[in-house]
């Protein structure tokens, strides 16, 4: 596990209340930006049936999966009860409007 912060993009490259996808060797990562400019990163794979979370509607600090409407907490990757499951979470930081992820 490499804990280096890796530069991803300028904050403006990620749409507010939206997400971008990072392609990596071990699968896609979704980087979300909330209305209040909080940034989160999760594996782009819904714990339910693998839907691309990056394509869901972002509301508060949650995202609704576009395939079957599971709601996932962005800060933990955990599905909102009563659904059960978890999408892997990645550390992410914003410095001077630049976004970094640790893989």
């Amino acid at each position: 596990m490499n804990n280096e912060w890796i530069y991803i993009a300028a904050l403006d490259e990620i749409p507010r209340q939206g997400a971008r996808v990072i392609e990596t060797g071990h699968g896609d990562i979704a980087v979300f930006r909330t209305l209040s400019d909080q940034v989160f990163a999760l594996r782009d794979h819904c714990p339910h049936q693998g839907g691309p979370l990056s394509q869901g509607i972002v509301h508060g600090e949650k995202v609704t999966c576009p395939l079957h409407n599971w709601v996932i907490e962005l800060n933990s990757g955990v599905a909102v009860a009563p659904d059960e499951g978890c999408a892997q979470r990645y550390a992410v930081k914003v410095e001077h409007m630049q976004v970094f992820v640790a893989l």
């Binding site: 990072i22 392609e23 509607i57 508060g60 576009p66 009563p82």
Partner: protein, 812 residues
């Protein structure tokens, strides 16, 4: 420092309010609860099964000590508040506890009314209200002994049944000659009496009790007419009386109950009251559903959200006495300007009565077969026009198949293994288990826990039936109004009206103005608000892409593997070799894995990667195509047959007309998807009579049919009107779509919308009212000015949008 909330009364209404409050503002208050009874909270409705021996007390406890501890609530069990000092905001208990409060919640409930007749205070005269009463009855009950129950209402009959099951000889005494007169009419009450008599209960009615005899213990009872009965136990169940002594003693204004406003506040604004102790707009309450609605509103104000209002409840009663099913709701007695439909089948012990006014249900009484109670109640709450299935409505939902809303099976009779929700593979047993184990009360809770009816929704009725039959008792937890989503207490219609009246221009304004509970809503309300604003302010409102479902953001349909499908518009389904070649070229160039003809006569390119979308759009645009909107809550396709140019049966130019209709309607956003078809003759090869709008050409003109649906629940269209010219077809089509756009709720297809508002209403607006129709048509045409911009051309030219479709890459 936290504010202090004190709850007086540890019953269903008060604790429900706390539950709702903890959901909204878990950390706002230090909460203390005083309960006279030495237990946690239990479900009072289920006392009858405990009396009858069908349940134990432990089974009906809803909140044990652990629940109070976990939520940081201090519970004073077996202690009661005896004084309230409103100036100092202080309460004092019988055991000497003194607490200050910032807000006080009174939920003191009610007491059984004890008739002040001689002997009412004898040993062996008991009310029926709490577990203590039940235990006293059980102590007194012994096989062969005699019990008299005064009061032939719901509670009285349940008590009588329970005591009979314990082996006693039980006589029910009732003042009137109609049992349960609050819920039943004479015919149903007679059936009930007859059936209860056959199980061994005795009745003495009408009869007025003069005195209870014995000293010091009950030995008998005497009536006004001089008749005497032997009794070892007398249960007094003539009614309840709001428990308002405490409120009165501190000067809070009371009449029959504690007077509360629509915010559940008493005359002292720091003091709230909910439940059976309150009087709201002249009404008192005795059923659980209104209490839960009050709890929701009260908690909203305690949390200082300040938006909810309690405006009274419409209630229904469903109960079981010794296996007899009864249901009643609304103005079941009928009266002036009302019509009554009845079905009587004495041999099967079935009686059904519906009270109607203007073809809308105002009340219902069902005896012996209550499976359709929930359905009638829903039709009543929605004030739905039932004229389309009036002749068969008494036979139940299962028999109105031709209107599309029939259920194949009655939920009650289904085995546990029967699949209820085909989308999510949920069986009846799963639903029942979840309701019982997780203590679910509402449809939303069942959806959340089991997924049943959470996808396409076609099994909603069945799930509601299971909910009703599993909960039993006098439950109807259906709220009288359905909030748009959990972010607001307002309904779709209220939100829509507010957007107009307050002239909100953006989602953010609307949420702020209507005091949304969440900062930016959720995936249910944001798309709805976006649509309502777009529809209300055509040309002015700036569409919010982030509040649209992914398909409408990418103008393509997301597939299970995260790729997309692209459907170019092919007007009226008519194409040519040039277009087909262009589609073939795109399929080759982007290595499209699957090319498929759709049900709407279009060509679907499946398996497109998101980042390839702009390129495909550009290539298809160049060949003359625009987006087919196969993904949108919008006009989808106009399906046609070949018509009179080729077909030997064709009566009109159905393809040409279909193309005209599609050119007029494409690009329009609607509450849900909207499909059109034009058939050239009544053989109807374009299947026009299962579309949202279908035109069937006949020799003398054009029939316009509306409200069809070929999807989950097949519904055949209703004939709206027959017209003579193509121009009229276009005008009626535009007007109908505009009425649907302006008045249906978001995600409500035309079929359920028409069933809700009634075909007569739609005909009135579109057919009878010529000026209204023209205005609607003009409104549609005006909105289309701004809607008919090809999103593909627009977005393919937007470099920032296109860049953001592509994945980010990590630096190597």
């Amino acid at each position: 420092m936290k504010e202090k909330l004190v709850l007086v009364g540890n019953g269903m209404a008060g604790v429900r309010t706390l539950e709702e409050l903890l959901k909204l503002a878990p950390d706002k208050y230090d909460i203390s609860v005083f309960g006279e009874e030495p237990h946690g909270n239990y479900n009072r409705i289920l006392l009858s099964p405990v009396l009858a021996g069908d349940k134990s007390f432990a089974e009906i406890v809803t909140h044990d000590a652990d629940w109070y501890r976990k939520n940081g609530i201090t519970l004073y069990k077996g202690d009661k508040i005896v004084a309230i000092d409103r100036k100092k905001r202080r309460v004092q208990s019988e055991n000497g506890v003194e607490l200050e409060y910032d807000r006080l919640l009174l939920a003191t409930g009610s007491k059984p009314f004890i008739l002040p007749i001689p002997g009412h205070d004898l040993d062996g005269v008991i009310g029926f209200r709490d577990i203590h009463d039940v235990n006293r009855m059980l102590q007194a009950a012994a096989p062969g002994k005699h019990a008299v129950v005064i009061g032939g209402g719901l509670l009285g009959l349940e008590a009588a049944n329970g005591l009979k099951k314990r082996g006693m000889t039980v006589t029910v005494v009732h003042l009137l000659d109609t049992l349960m007169e609050r819920q039943l009419d004479k015919a149903a009450a007679d059936l009930l009496k007859h059936e209860l008599e056959s199980t061994g209960l005795r009745f003495h009615m009408p009869a007025q009790t003069e005195a209870i005899l014995g000293e010091p213990c009950v030995t008998g009872i005497r009536f006004k007419d001089g008749i005497e009965l032997t009794a070892d136990l007398v249960v007094m169940s003539v009614g309840i009386k709001p428990n308002i002594e405490l409120a009165k003693s501190c000067g809070i204004y009371c009449e029959r109950g504690i007077i509360v406003s629509d915010t559940l506040q008493t005359f002292d604004p720091a003091i709230y009251a909910v439940g059976e102790c309150v009087q709201h707009r002249g009404s008192l309450f005795g059923l659980v559903a209104p209490l839960f609605e009050q709890a929701r509103v009260c908690s909203n104000h305690l949390a200082e959200y300040g938006i909810a209002r309690y405006q009274g409840s419409i209630t229904s009663t469903k109960l079981k006495v010794t296996g007899i099913d009864l249901f009643s709701a609304g103005e079941f007695q009928g009266g002036e300007n009302h019509e009554t439909l009845t079905l009587q089948d004495p041999a099967r012990g079935i009686y059904k009565k519906l009270v109607l006014q203007d073809n809308r249900i105002k009340g219902a009484v069902l005896y012996g077969d209550t499976v359709d109670g929930a359905w009638y109640f829903q039709l009543m709450r929605e004030s739905a026009d039932i004229s389309a299935f009036r002749e068969s409505i008494l036979f139940g939902q299962a028999h109105v198949g031709d209107s599309g809303y029939g259920n194949e099976n009655k939920a009650v009779n289904l085995p546990d293994s029967a699949e209820i929700c085909g989308c999510n593979g949920v069986c009846k047993g799963d639903v029942v288990k979840a309701i019982v184990e997780k203590k679910l009360y509402t449809l939303e809770e069942v959806r959340a826990h089991t997924k049943a009816s959470s996808s396409c929704g076609s099994c909603t009725g069945l799930v509601e039936q299971i909910l009703a039959s599993t909960l039993g008792g006098d439950y109807s937890t259906a709220p009288s109004k359905q909030a748009l989503c959990a972010c607001t207490a307002l309904t779709h219609d209220e939100v829509r009206a507010a957007i107009s009246s307050a002239a909100y221009q953006t989602i953010r304004d609307a949420m702020a103005g209507m005091e949304w509970k969440t900062p930016d809503g959720c995936s249910s309300c944001r798309p709805a608000l976006n649509y309502y604003l777009l529809c209300r302010w055509p040309g002015e409102y700036r569409d919010d892409a982030q509040s649209r479902f992914i398909n409408e953001r990418t103008h393509a349909n997301i597939q299970k593997d995260g790729t997309y499908s692209v459907v170019p518009r092919i007007w009226g389904g008519v194409t040519n070799s040039h277009e087909l070649r262009a589609i073939a070229d795109v399929a080759d160039k982007y290595e499209v894995p699957t090319v498929k003809i759709t049900g709407g006569q279009r060509i679907d390119l499946l398996g497109i990667k998101k980042q390839d979308l702009p390129g495909i759009w550009r290539d298809l645009n160049q060949a003359g195509f625009v987006s087919g909107h196969a993904y949108g809550k919008s006009l989808r396709t106009v399906k046609t047959c070949v018509g009179k140019d080729w077909c030997r049966f064709g009566t009109q130019d159905s393809t040409g007309l279909g193309i005209q209709v599609e050119k007029m309607t494409w690009g329009s956003w609607t509450p849900h998807k909207f499909k059109i078809a034009v058939s050239g003759c009544p053989r109807n090869c374009a299947e026009a009579t299962i579309k949202d709008l279908g035109v069937v050409c006949v020799d003398s003109g054009y029939e316009i049919h509306v409200g069809g649906n070929g999807g989950i629940k097949v519904r055949v269209t209703d004939l709206l009107v027959k017209v003579a010219t193509e121009a009229e077809v276009l005008e009626y089509t535009g007007a109908f779509m505009q009425l649907y756009r302006e008045e249906a709720r978001y995600l409500e297809r035309t079929a359920p919308w028409i069933e809700r508002v009634g075909l007569a209403y739609v005909k009135h607006r579109i057919v009878d009212d010529r000026r209204g129709r023209e205005a609607l048509y003009q409104g549609f045409v005006a909105a289309q000015q701004n809607a008919q911009i090809d999103p593909w051309a627009e977005l393919a030219g937007n470099t920032e949008y296109c860049r953001q479709l592509a994945p980010l890459t990590l630096p190597v």
